[in-house]
């Protein structure tokens, strides 16, 4: 199972800014190892965010997203105590979901 994400969600007014750091290699498939063999592509393809169980964001990513990806978005109507869940799915079928509470 992949390493956990760091999720921070801060409410300000009637919105919450969510910042996520995900632990993932995001290998493009373009690099070669020291033997000259291509390192297979391995990257997050889908990201979903849920606010109190309701899906609020769906994203598709390519391997150009940087290693240990950062994501920031703003949820409307979110307040302190609400739950934010982030899920990702990569091209190998590995996935990870983490949750945080809005502060």
């Amino acid at each position: 199972m992949a390493d956990p994400m760091r999720i921070r969600a801060q409410a300000a007014g009637d919105k919450a800014t969510v910042r996520v750091l995900m632990s993932h290699e995001m290998e493009t498939g373009q690099r070669k190892d020291s033997a000259g063999k291509p390192i297979p592509a391995w990257f997050i393809q889908q990201v979903t965010a849920q606010h109190n169980g309701k899906t609020v964001l769906e994203a598709q990513w390519g391997p150009a997203v940087a290693k240990n990806p950062f994501l920031q978005f703003i949820v409307k109507g979110a307040k302190a105590g609400d739950k934010i869940a982030i899920s990702w799915l990569d091209n190998r079928g590995d996935k990870r979901t983490d949750e945080a509470t809005v502060t």
Partner: protein, 266 residues
Amino acid sequence: MKPKWTLLAGAATLVALPVAAQKSSAEGIAEYRKMLEDGNPAELYEVKGEALWKQKRGPKNVSLEACDLGKGPGVVKGAWVELPRYFADTGRVQDVESRLVTCMSTLQGFDADKLAATPFGKGEMANITALATWISGQSRDMPFALSQAHPLERKFYALGEKAFYYRAGPMDFSCASCHGEEHKRIRLQDLPPLYKNPGDGLGIAAWPAYRVSNGQMWSMQLRLNDCLRLQRFPYPKFGSDVTTALAVYMGVNAKGAKSIAPALKR
């Protein structure tokens, strides 16, 4: 934590970028680095390190919570900025990574030699790096305050100073070749002067750091290892006297400088 990213809500509120068409490279790079400050992937290693500190592991199935980093068993806050220091139980001057090897072997039952021989970024060495990352973060913004009270600590400072100026290898480099003068740089990287206090957040105060260029978390042992590699010196033993002494030299020189570890680097 105050958000550093100011995202735009309306077209009218454009980010106040300088109007001048040409900004100096230094300003451009400074702006780039500032944009990355919020959301340092080092945080992922801090989270991992904290979990490793508290988790029961090793043949003895014990956590590291009784590990003494110099301020008493289990005291982590403030420990980083006092390392390396003399430890009576081992009779050695040790940095945080060497001390973690001590704790992981005596408390948890890991084989100390095997730990030290594990390559950086792999297996338990990756765990040591994560632990060091978390431990350093627990002293964030605190000033360096290494002790020179013990004679061995003073001896290590002298050894570090000697090593700093020691020219050797096929290129005849010493640490001082790059870090022995102010206002030096290699391409876009400023080289902090390490024979004196380089200031807050520089030199020893900036490691461990996440390097964006290779997406790796680098501890001070790895940073020094790589400096020695660039000098074309032989590969140093993990936790060697020389690398520990260089850290003592830098740490004592940096007395009062604020630690920003874990930091973000090119």
